[in-house]
Symmetry: C2
Subunit: 434 residues, 2 copies
Amino acid sequence: MKTTLSQLGQRTAPPAISWLMSLTLGHPKLISLAAGFTDNASLPVDEARALLDEILSAPRTGQPALQYGSTAGEPLLRELTAKRLTDLDAQADRQVGPTKHGRAALPRGLHLSPDRLLITHGSQQLLYLLTEALCDPGDIVLVEDPTYFVYLGIAQSHGLRCRGVRLLPDGLDLAHLEQVLEELRRAGELQRVKFLYLVSYYQNPTGYTTSFAKKAAALKLLRRYEKFAGHPLYLLEDAAYRELRFAGDDVPSALAAPGGPERVLYAGTFSKPFATGVRVGFGVLPEPVLTTATRIKGNHDFGTANLLQQLLTRALASGAYARHLAELQRRYAHKARVMTDAIRAHFPPDVEWREPQGGLYVWARVPKRLRTGPKSHFFQTALKRNVLYVPGLLCYADDPARRKPDHEMRLSFGGASERDITEGIARLARALPQ
Amino acid sequence: MKTTLSQLGQRTAPPAISWLMSLTLGHPKLISLAAGFTDNASLPVDEARALLDEILSAPRTGQPALQYGSTAGEPLLRELTAKRLTDLDAQADRQVGPTKHGRAALPRGLHLSPDRLLITHGSQQLLYLLTEALCDPGDIVLVEDPTYFVYLGIAQSHGLRCRGVRLLPDGLDLAHLEQVLEELRRAGELQRVKFLYLVSYYQNPTGYTTSFAKKAAALKLLRRYEKFAGHPLYLLEDAAYRELRFAGDDVPSALAAPGGPERVLYAGTFSKPFATGVRVGFGVLPEPVLTTATRIKGNHDFGTANLLQQLLTRALASGAYARHLAELQRRYAHKARVMTDAIRAHFPPDVEWREPQGGLYVWARVPKRLRTGPKSHFFQTALKRNVLYVPGLLCYADDPARRKPDHEMRLSFGGASERDITEGIARLARALPQ
């Protein structure tokens, strides 16, 4: 008997992460520098308890939290989120200053309307909704090389083709973006391109940030190629790690660049900066994407659970969110330093890496003669020494235009304890050939 | 410039409910007997407060509630859910007795393994995941005539064709099911059929329940046609209202029928019986559907927010859920009686309706010469008199094999107060031609 599964069902592959997680089961003493978990000890247990207690202390606030809401999301949460994003962008603009990124580009007094927001069950859901709303099988999405590997799973399940755009330590390689667009134009494939997916802040997996100037230039470039595509070419800006900044300046969002409001699909989240068990993300979207994504969300679940939305609303309104975030930023700054100190102490000098300024990851590149992939001697040796990382290989899309680099690793300082971070890095170093 | 929207994006229509909800905005004094909201006054505000306070009173339980979990869902919640379902089925079997539905059919000591469960963001998400996992554009799903209108939106967005199977007061019309299957076989279309979608308990919109004998017979019939389809023909049993029973006996799930474990996709939920703002649903699924739906869920959101899952886990484990449910059943029994008393007092005798035994709805049928659709004189008169119902028309799939009936209405006693229920029914009666 044949399968009843749909094309999408048949294409949907086991997630890379499940294979990594199955490894941890067989190795109870394993130190995982692979998981993208956030820091357990700093989860806002007391804050959440107090906020929920307030919400549920009276029927007037308790009942709405336990009842259905609207698909687009709690109006006050959308309002507070829009205001927060407006403030972040205004502040980032002041920090970066007028000359470096062409401040004139910033729309004066950009005020986001809450009507442009859609609240989602984590920003992951938004990535899924946007892919559904925009992409048919065979369509092309441009992704960073390397990129967030879970997104590659979404793209694959939808039968999309990915084209990688090189990522440099200061963000997207614009010359390569132009080259890729030009190649697609010549091949008559531009009408299949839907968007450029950019994890713009402290990127997963590299920790790199794309500057505002580069985002503005990427938007301009996409705009130039629209006439060949025959339809809008969006910039999907995934800002999941934006608020986990612990060094350097914030960068304005691509929404603030010329043409941003019409062409940027901004994906933000409160899950990582507040609590990953409280899955609340959001999108800022132009029409017709907003209406379409909201309708699809209605079919998914008619709206994110109200209890979660009310908790975040109150956290934002009361200042508890901002206080918690400041604490979290100090904590990740510390954990990042623990990791980089250990790397400096143990790794040989021919391993390349950079000091992260935010996020949860350090990206390390060993000499090319060495492999880091799942079947490599190094990965297996590390596993025998009870330490796990994400092989860089998993973070590259299937792109016929290049071979996947296989000498990198993503090291997370999010979930592991300080002690495990130090010990894990030392074990990894011992697994490297001396 | 052309649209960038995908085929799915272009097909996804505004939900019927949004049009109804927009009507309520323009009529502040409107009594809505249309919304499928649950009763506000009986939401478990105090219980949720106490349970969350316990969970968050210590890092040992608080941290896991605020951290990521697994995609399939919290293991203890899956265990408690599997046990609950096993108990419900065993109890229903005893209630119904051996003769009426062929008890021998029930697998003795059916124990559900928690490994067959997937926890979702409400059971709505499960319906979406299953449609994605199983259906390609052009595929056919069999639905009840009438059926849950939000599901029709999911089907339409996926480009599916729906075939309606008549619904009788004791459930699915089996002779019509056979006729439809036979027609599809003759037309060479059976290989496009994926499943029969059945809202088996206190159906939305009719309130009708399909007996166990009928479910078992439907499964058998589907099995017989599998040889023509060339692949499994599933029975998607949507049991969303099962626990909102306030009269009569429970009915065993289709899982308990011969072949049930291999061919039933069971969709359950805790949202309606506990709190709709705490969106936690679940599926009991055979392979390969379970693995595929779980992977797709991983791409949607990597798992339902842990805070919601931990809340339900504790509600189930502590007995708070069972206590709340008993209270809720009394409450809905009362509200249903308020509505049927009003109907008896005000509606003319040529309006047909039935006493509900559970769920949130009364389905009323006016004489055929009268129309109840959105553009009908009756609907508009009712609106002028500030009362809203769901026109029956919206609950019928587009099916070329018949005209949509247009003389029915769904009346909900879930969200409205007792006073509004009585007054709303009186207003509706006055809108009927005397």
